[in-house]
């Protein structure tokens, strides 16, 4: 068996958007159930047709995969209580509407750039208003994209921020700066090395602390019945390979 895709084993989730629209996450992809062809709607929007805010959210989501955005703002665990920025999103939405009314006759490049940035920012704030389980999947997706494109600086720091609590629980006393990405995972006295896939495939599934006294560092296989084979490391302990049947149940408190 080969390592499964990072999203395998994670159930689909949905969240309400505007009106009766919904955001749906399934198999690593975010879709808008009221907008089956967003590309066509984007084209119409560029020609002046009214544009649903769902598309701003989708644009922001896609941009996150290039920039790594959301990994700084997004929650690290269920204990990292965040409040949906509802008031801020409303203020920005009102500002954007005023801005568009004031400059609707102006289609210059500066207008277009500010408009695009503001719409994407609004979409980003609306993304941050989704629930913890949804946000975990979105962050895992961004992490997987950064890994695939080799943008490991942002990924390494984001991984460190999410791995530190699990490592500290083992008695490891290093700091975020001492958690690095590498091909061979290890947990030493002053350096912890995790695979580049850790954030998407382990943290994304809520698996980091699934094994008592150890940190799960890698998902190696998925069984036909859904169970996962993992590798777990402890501070000063040998590597352990075992099967895990429950996840997404501990550090994010679902």
């Amino acid at each position: 068996m080969s390592a499964p895709e990072w999203w395998q084993g994670l159930p689909a989730v949905a969240a309400p958007s505007v009106d009766d629209h919904r955001f749906v996450w399934a198999e690593g992809t975010l879709t808008l159930d009221a907008h089956p062809d967003p590309e066509a709607e984007r084209t119409l929007g560029a020609l002046g047709a009214p544009r649903c805010v769902c598309l701003d959210v989708l644009d922001a989501w896609e941009a996150c995969h290039d920039s790594g955005a959301m990994l700084i703002a997004g929650p690290r665990s269920g204990h990292d209580a965040i409040q949906a920025p509802v008031a801020l999103a409303r203020t920005l939405s009102d500002d954007l509407a005023r801005w568009r009314r004031a400059f609707r006759a102006d289609v210059g490049p500066k207008f277009a750039a500010v408009d695009r940035t503001a719409a994407r920012r609004l979409g980003f704030l609306l993304l941050l208003g989704l629930d913890a389980r949804f946000l975990r999947r979105l962050q895992a997706s961004v992490a997987a994209a950064l890994d695939a494109s080799g943008r490991h600086v942002a990924l390494e720091v984001a991984t460190a921020a999410r791995a530190l609590p699990a490592l500290a629980a083992l008695g490891w006393t290093g700091s975020q700066a001492e958690i690095r990405l590498g091909a061979v995972p290890s947990i030493g006295g002053d350096l912890a090395i995790l695979p580049t896939s850790w954030m998407a495939s382990v943290w994304g599934r809520g698996l980091a602390d699934a094994v008592d006294g150890r940190v799960v560092v890698e998902v190696t296989a998925q069984h036909p019945d859904g169970g996962l084979d993992v590798l777990a490391l402890g501070f000063g302990k040998s590597e352990l390979a075992l099967r895990v049947d429950r996840w997404e149940t501990r550090d994010n408190e679902l």
């Binding site: 700084i72 409040q83 500002d95 102006d106």
Partner: protein
């Protein structure tokens, strides 16, 4: 600049951002200081040409968002670009209209990439100049801390930092021992009307009894970090903004001075302009 240096700088900046986010429940003053440190670090890595400004800006914006959604509601993460009163069509079309009244002379200048040493040199020059103008003690502490943050994020040696801090402390000592403030008067105003490559323009140079200044200075991106400095009569000085379009340089120029070399460092790019009159 090597990828290793750029990656190291970005990593340090991101780690600093994580440390700021971790302060979400700290007292406001501590959060404000940490955000200021993050901004200084961002300026340093951009100024040294290590990390693109778009990346540092995104990190700064997302850090503020991160704090806001964790309950730090006194922060204001709104977008000033959307204020329809401030940003106007005049801004979009203003520069050519403003320049139409005065014939501008092109001054091409010389452009080259900035590096770590170049950025730190300008930063030391600028912080010392700010102190010489009589900064408040909080501001002096802030400037000293900026030197330290920048040295850390740029991975400078402790000897480099020590030398910079020594120059800074000397400037502080000179300022605080200054007991005599003579009357300041304008000695000469020299119209220049120069277009400085594609980075901006300057209307005039003024020679004052204790300093000199450039007036009517515009740059293409006034909101961005820009360090101006100049060499005149064998002395280097940092230009300190003292009002809209005004940059002050110390000390005064002599009446016989007829040329200065202007230097601009902004977001990893550096220019040199030879100005004569």
């Amino acid at each position: 600049m090597s990828n290793v240096a750029a990656d190291t700088a970005e990593r340090r900046l991101r780690l600093r951002a994580e440390a700021v986010v971790a302060l979400a429940t700290a007292p406001p003053v501590e959060i404000a200081e940490a955000i200021e440190g993050l901004n200084h670090a961002a300026d340093a890595v951009v100024g040294a040409g290590l990390v693109p400004v778009e990346v540092t800006r995104a990190i700064a914006v997302e850090t503020v968002d991160a704090l806001y959604i964790r309950g730090v509601l006194w922060l204001d993460p709104s977008m000033p670009e959307l204020q329809t009163g401030g940003w106007s069509k005049f801004e979009e079309k203003g520069a050519p209209e403003r320049n139409r009244a005065v014939e501008m002379i092109d001054l091409p200048g010389h452009e080259h990439g900035a590096d770590l040493a170049c950025y730190f040199d300008r930063l030391v020059l600028r912080t010392s100049a700010l102190v010489s103008l009589g900064a408040h003690v909080d501001s002096v502490n802030g400037l000293r801390s900026r030197l330290q943050v920048s040295a850390e994020v740029l991975d400078l040696t402790s000897a480099d930092l020590e030398a910079a801090l020594q120059a800074f402390d000397q400037a502080v000592a000179i300022t605080t021992s200054d007991e005599f403030a003579p009357e300041v008067r304008l000695a000469e105003s020299v119209p220049l009307s120069l277009r400085l490559a594609d980075v901006g323009s300057v209307a005039a140079l003024e020679r004052w009894s204790d300093h000199w200044r450039l007036t009517g200075l515009t740059t293409g991106h006034p909101e961005r970090m820009a360090f101006w400095s100049a060499t005149a009569e064998g002395r280097r000085a940092a230009g300190i903004p003292t009002g809209p379009g005004v940059l002050r340089f110390d000390p005064a120029l002599s009446a016989s001075c007829r040329a200065v070399t202007l230097e601009l460092l902004s977001e990893g790019r550096a220019w040199t302009f030879e100005v004569q009159w």
